[in-house]
Symmetry: C2
Subunit: 464 residues, 2 copies
């Protein structure tokens, strides 16, 4: 890749000529607001491009090939790993303005969208048709479908509904040089090409720029009910889930909030008003069920009996607003954590469900040893823990050591170091801890097929 | 690829030395029984290898690399497209003896199997644990999980449960040269590598040999109920499905049996005994629902009312044996078709659900014009029709023309020319009717990553 120096403005001005000045941001203050994502990194790009249609994306991707300029595609920039940043030698292609819902086929239950559509807005739109797009990352009110696909986003609903990969039927992708690739058929089934679509899910902007996304959607469940329980033993919820599953009670969502997270949450006024928390509460557990009115009517007494038998304090929400306001507590958790430390290392590891308890015990041991707060909340349904280390500048080295111990433990327990956030810039150095050299070699070859000059987000995912 | 001539027996004898004589079949009569699959092709292989464990597969794949011998991996050989055949220059690697269920993790709901496990046997095994592997190709009592993965097999349950690709969590694959690749993490979620697993699903033995398959499984539904309806208008069932979905009645399976198929079915004694067919019946429609006892209790009167309102004659089966004996009718359909013609071209096209009726009308027009029987049954739930042309030798050319008209119509209706059988040998010449040259070029590059010498099933899927 060629780094721009003196001649850079000429080349960028050329791009302004092609797209129009308002779509190519070059001013310092404009660039600054695209220098962050939800990681703690700051990387100022050379330029920010704001395309409004596919043809403009094609022009940009021709241009980067011609001038060998690296490019990072992004949406709202909610990445926690630096995968939405362009570093100093590259440009940002922000797809937020390509945010149209292009077509809903109610009969086929397929919706075609542009990448900049906000997840939550798609949900609201579909609701009018009594349809439903399940993946629900905590960022869903801000994050885009394109970004969700690029990271393979999940959320609490993973247990019953899976993650983004289970809903992407096909993609239209623009490759460096401007070629447009349809990844596969848009029918509900199809085996003619190799199944290329999933390679792009979780590819973190390294393989192509999405311009259209075909998503499967489901009928909207008639009714939801949320149980939020309070636990004096921190690990109790992790056993609860397995006991529920054994009784044939399969939650739509389940979410674990640990002891250390609670220390941050209780400092939020809204949380204190909503939740009857006392000093004995060491963990919260959100469990939501959904289905027909009749199913829920049948389920509720069974679940109440389940909690009653175990002597667990629980509150139940059945109205949509109540349910949402309780989930809002969970969604405010990540930003609330800053009271525990001004710096953060955020991981999103996965272990097999049966090892969740062992893993939590290990985390508490490390917390005690290192004296650093370690939060460990997350999607218990698929064993996906959000492990966050909070610390101040002077503890940076210790934090790094602890983090590495955590990742090693995860791999020891047959887990994976990222369930839904990706590796980005912050975790790519650990890729060979998890993958074999054969796996990494194959990934590099796949990257080369789609992006032979290494222009697309070259700073993330793959090792240098 | 180097074609074996004189020296071939020496090389094959070398393989006998490595694996043991009983695992390398070389005798004419032994080879003959591996010269067929469920297509009408006959291709005698050079040799048939019957490995019993992973280490032997590794040895064979080292050997093919060294001697540049093409190899076709296969299971029970139920492929309808010739993808289980090895032609005269290659060998068959039959994985039927690698048929152990290696591990069931009940907590995680994941089962690890060898490729030779029969689909139906896995279902029976899981039933003991009240678990359930949904994909149900008509061949399920014979076909192997390895073959199901290699073709991306579906079945009537596609509507509610999806197809094989929705259940494969990860694969262990042996590549030419003997390297062992794990395609990804075996946790329920994970985005560290590019998502390699799905590339192998539907790859028709062209990318690697599966030695372990990790499958997600579901809780077994408590109760099933099957409705089988009789229609005097052939296209009626195709509208019925859409009306059911609109009323919020989502079947687990739905299966359409057309007018021409019925002509073959009524000639089977068992069918005549089981079904009250009369000359007015132009189509059958199987619709199965599953769920908890309570759900089914609630659903049944709603469905009965639905049929009653429409004045449709229907029978209902609630007992497991009754349900299975009715489904058996559907499963015997493919072999029953031979009464309509001694030769067959079998396609498994998919069109968007909303175009199913248009497509059927077109089929009847072509049937009338060509005077060849065209059956058009299949998985209405995902728009997947099994279109079979039946004919005698002298009509071969007409049949080919008609078939091409059908495939063109499918593509005109935004469909795909294969939903679950693959392209194999019989359909690969049509690949560029559906895919762009960019898509085909990318497929070739992917093939090259895993199989640079083009040794794995080089006769199928990709164009020459």
């Amino acid at each position: 890749m060629k780094f721009l120096k003196k001649g850079k403005f000429k080349i960028l001005e050329k791009l302004q000529e092609i797209l129009g000045k308002e779509k190519v941001l070059l001013e310092e203050e404009e660039l600054l607001s695209y220098s962050y994502d939800a990681s703690s990194l700051i990387r100022k790009p050379l330029a920010v491009i704001l395309p409004e249609k596919k043809e403009e994306v094609v022009e940009v991707l021709k241009w980067i090939k011609k001038h060998q300029i690296p490019l990072t595609p992004r949406g709202s920039g909610t990445s926690t790993t630096g995968s939405a940043l362009a570093h100093s030698a590259g440009i940002i292609l922000c797809l937020s303005k390509m945010n149209r819902i292009l077509e809903l086929d109610e009969e086929e239950r397929v919706v075609r969208v542009e990448p900049g559509v906000i997840n939550g807005e798609l949900k609201s739109y579909l609701k009018k048709f009594r349809l439903f797009y399940p993946p629900d990352p905590a960022s869903m009110n801000f994050s885009t479908i394109g970004g969700n696909v690029a990271t393979g986003a999940g959320g609490p609903r993973g247990l019953k509904y899976g993650t983004t990969k289970d809903y992407v039927l096909a993609l239209e992708v623009v490759l460096p040089g401007g070629e447009i690739l349809k990844t596969g058929p848009t029918t509900l089934k199809g085996v003619v090409p190799y199944n290329l679509t999933p390679i792009f899910i979780g590819s973190e902007g390294t393989l192509g720029v999405f311009t259209e996304i075909f998503l499967k959607v489901l009928p909207l469940p008639e009714k939801r009910v949320l149980f939020l329980s309070f636990h004096s033993l921190e690990e109790e919820p992790l056993e609860l889930l397995s006991q529920m599953l054994k009784r044939g009670l399969t939650p739509a969502s389940s979410e674990f909030v640990d002891k250390t997270s609670l220390k941050a949450l209780v400092q939020i006024q809204k949380v204190k008003e909503l939740l009857p928390l006392d000093s004995l509460t060491k963990a919260l557990f959100f469990v939501e069920f959904d289905g027909t009115h009749l199913e829920i009517k049948d389920l509720v007494p069974k679940i109440e009996r389940f909690y009653f038998e175990k002597g667990i304090r629980v509150i139940k929400a059945e109205k949509e607003e109540e349910i949402e306001s309780l989930w809002e507590i969970r969604r405010t958790l990540a930003p609330a954590l800053k009271v525990l430390g001004s710096l953060k290392i955020a991981d999103d590891v996965v272990v097999p469900r049966k090892f969740m308890k062992v893993f939590l015990t290990e985390i508490r041991k490390l917390e005690k040893e290192s004296k650093l707060p370690i939060v460990c909340f997350g999607h218990a349904g698929d064993g996906n823990f959000h492990v966050n280390l909070l610390f101040e500048e002077e503890k940076k080295e210790i934090a790094k050591e602890v983090r590495e111990k955590i990742l090693k433990k995860v791999l020891e327990l047959s887990g994976t170091i990222s369930g839904e956030h990706g590796l980005g810039y912050t975790k790519r150095t650990y890729i060979n801890w998890e993958l074999s050299s054969l796996q990494i070699e194959i990934m590099k070859k796949i990257k080369k097929i789609f992006d032979p000059d290494n222009l697309l987000n070259p700073w993330v995912k793959l090792p240098d």
